[in-house]
């Protein structure tokens, strides 16, 4: 491979960024994923499952990487139609800490009938007045496990959906008991929920990035790894952690334009239940990319060959530096290039969040910066002339925060291995 786009002149800026920056980064991820499966103990009992939706594109990258480099695999892989909502249902019959804390985070301040409707994906089940109260973990667990007709109706709907998901999981694992999920990141709710809900399997999760950015309990971090990024905070001296400054970019690049998995239809004869994601032409839509960032990255992968393998890490080092420059120190062109469509909130809901907070949600410019998914980009948009100074201040604040976190970790003796 030459390291240059084959037809650079015909590529858009997004495709070029995808090719030169995201391509090497995702290739490095693929190499690391290959190494993990190569050294995974007892591979004969393991299967690598790429989680919808971001995992579907990660699988595409991984398969492209394997095809171009001829590396042999020891752990087979498949796609898993799953979401946090689907994973949450696996633990609904016996709500534990994993489920309740996830729901508490997603539905803070929302009524419990909304939570029940999201889990059951039914808003036509009339629930008693107690369900109208604001979500409280213990109260919700009591309501969900009660013997009254409302709880029974909700539990029945959840159980039907959960049974279909388990049938889908069984089909994708083909008798192997060790499941290695492959997902984008960050916190790893899906594996936490699945490990709690389906305890008769061994669960692991390999993510692009792992980060406890919300400072929550992390009992599942023992089985979760971030292959490209593993840090709770952005550390200016660790270039890969710049992904955490604009995580939604990574998600947007990797998530195809397909609906989040919410429900499974009953299995047709001899087949396994089909998810709502598997609409007509869904497989073609995984690679379809109007923006050009993902297609640019895929073009890079398609240009790989066996001879490129030794240089994967070195090229990724260079790409990460370019990524950091674009995300942490963006200019106007970078902001235009990396502006994204609104992102879905998920967990069975249809609301969307904007990359840059508008006047309605946040009154002043500082609040709008704070509420934006990409703060550095928001600074450059709102203060085109003073933007660099603002970016410097943000960087300074992050340096202080990262040093503080490092100091805390050293004091507690909990340095990452």
């Amino acid at each position: 491979m030459t390291g240059q786009p084959r037809s650079a002149s015909t590529r858009t800026a997004a495709q070029t960024f995808g090719y030169t920056v995201l391509g090497p980064i995702l290739t490095e991820f693929s190499l690391r994923l290959w190494l993990y499966q190569r050294f995974f103990p007892q591979p004969d009992d393991a299967v690598l499952l790429f989680c919808a939706r971001g995992g579907l594109r990660m699988r595409m990258v991984y398969e492209g990487f394997l095809a171009r480099t001829d590396l042999p695999v020891t752990v087979p892989h498949e796609s898993l139609m799953v979401s946090r909502l689907v994973a949450a249902r696996t633990g609904a019959a016996n709500p534990g800490e994993a489920l309740l804390s996830e729901l508490g985070r997603e539905f803070a301040g929302r009524p419990m009938n909304e939570v029940a409707a999201a889990l059951a994906q039914r808003d036509d089940i009339a629930l008693g007045p107690a369900w109208k109260g604001t979500f409280q973990a213990k109260r919700f667990a009591d309501l969900l496990t009660a013997a009254d007709p409302w709880a029974l109706a909700i539990r029945r709907e959840i159980a039907v959906q959960d049974e279909r998901f388990r049938a889908h999981l069984d089909a994708r694992t083909s008798g192997r008991r060790t499941v290695i999920l492959c997902d984008t990141g960050l916190y790893g709710s899906t594996v936490r929920l699945l490990r709690d809900g389906i305890a008769d399997r061994r669960w692991f999760c390999l993510q692009f990035a792992r980060s406890n950015y919300k400072r929550l309990a992390t009992p599942h971090f023992d089985c979760t790894r971030g292959l490209s990024v593993e840090s709770d905070v952005y550390r200016p001296w660790d270039v890969r952690t710049s992904a955490l400054r604009f995580w939604h970019l990574i998600e947007a690049v990797l998530e195809p334009d397909l609906p989040s998995v919410r429900v499974f239809a009953p299995a047709e004869s001899g087949a396994t239940p089909k998810s709502n994601l598997e609409i007509e032409g869904w497989q073609e839509r995984i690679g379809h990319d109007e923006k050009g960032l993902f297609s640019g990255a895929m073009a890079y992968v398609e240009d790989l060959d066996r001879a490129a393998l030794p240089d994967v890490s070195a090229r990724a080092d260079l790409a990460w530096r370019q990524f950091r420059r674009a995300v942490v120190w963006p200019d106007r062109a970078a902001v235009d290039l990396l502006s994204l469509d609104d992102r879905s909130r998920d967990f069975g809901r249809i609301e969307r969040v904007a990359q840059f907070a508008g006047r309605a949600g946040a009154p002043g410019p500082l609040a709008r910066i704070r509420e934006s998914l990409w703060r550095e980009g928001a600074v450059v948009r709102l203060f085109p002339d003073l933007g660099r100074a603002g970016l410097g201040l943000i960087e300074l604040a992050h340096s202080g925060r990262a040093l503080q976190a490092q100091g805390r970790r050293m004091i507690s003796g909990g340095a990452h291995r």
């Binding site: 690391r32 190494l35 190569r38 692991f204 890490s313 070195a314 090229r315």
Partner: protein
């Protein structure tokens, strides 16, 4: 150099750690050692027609080893990686055939031979114990097999009294987690009380051995050696941090 002999007590079997106990490493850090391996491997590969930059060989080795241990740590923290698997993965990434893989393997052993020296006072004490009828074995946390360790011992300390070698790579169980000790006791057919274990690492050789009921004795390298090794590691890190990255600006020149 004199060695303060341990209390042998009723022990019928003396078990010894290998690296930095039976065989002393010099002041070089692991990073430096792997760089030396990479330079040698690169030169030998070139002689056989495989042009592989030393920096690329080194980086590949670091990446493979790091992710191999992370994968192991994830699913089987008490196990160990095998060197043959590291070499296999490296040769896949470096696009080498079996001959190239053999060169990677030989370069590692050649550098080990060059940078290791026998702990003569300990060997002499062990020789006395062997003559007194005690069985002497080696137990090592290493990705090398018993055969490789035997080769190193035979080369560096000919006539040594080590009767058997047990490695974490062969048993897929480490001293670090204590998992290897019961297996070794079973194979040797002895009880924990019959054994004296000697090693340099407090966790692996002392705390874990004691946790399994084995009497342990710690031998520690001199402070100046440990300090030099740390300095060497810092130097290697600095060199790496300051080096330009990317395929067009290889680290090769820094390996000369």
């Amino acid at each position: 150099m004199q060695m303060r002999p341990p209390e042998i007590g009723h022990a019928t079997l003396v078990s010894c750690d290998v690296f930095d106990t039976l065989l002393h490493r010099d002041h070089r850090s692991e990073t430096r050692r792997l760089r030396d391996v990479a330079v040698l491997a690169s030169r030998r590969l070139a002689e056989c027609g495989f042009v592989r930059d030393p920096a690329t060989v080194w980086r590949t080795r670091i990446d493979v080893q790091r992710h191999a241990y992370r994968a192991l740590d994830l699913a089987d923290p008490s196990g160990d990686v095998r060197f043959a698997d590291i070499v296999d993965a490296m040769s896949q990434i470096l696009a080498l055939d079996a001959r190239g893989a053999a060169i990677l393997h030989e370069a590692e052993i050649a550098v080990e031979r060059r940078q290791l020296a026998p702990n003569q006072p300990l060997f002499s004490w062990l020789g006395t114990q062997a003559k007194a009828g005690r069985r002497i074995i080696a137990v090592s946390d290493t990705y090398h097999t018993a055969a490789t360790i035997a080769h190193l011992l035979d080369t560096l300390a000919p006539g040594h009294p080590i009767a058997a070698i047990h490695t974490s790579a062969d048993y897929d169980a480490t001293k670090r987690t204590g998992a290897i000790f019961p297996k070794v006791l079973h194979v040797e057919g002895v009880h924990p009380g019959d054994v004296l274990h000697i090693g340099d690492d407090f966790t692996a050789d002392v705390a874990m051995a004691r946790a399994k009921g084995i009497r342990a004795w710690q031998v520690v390298r001199p402070r100046h050696v440990r300090l030099r090794r740390k300095m060497d590691a810092v130097r290697a890190r600095l060199l790496h941090a300051l080096s330009p990255t990317g395929p067009s600006a290889r680290l090769g020149s820094r390996f000369a």
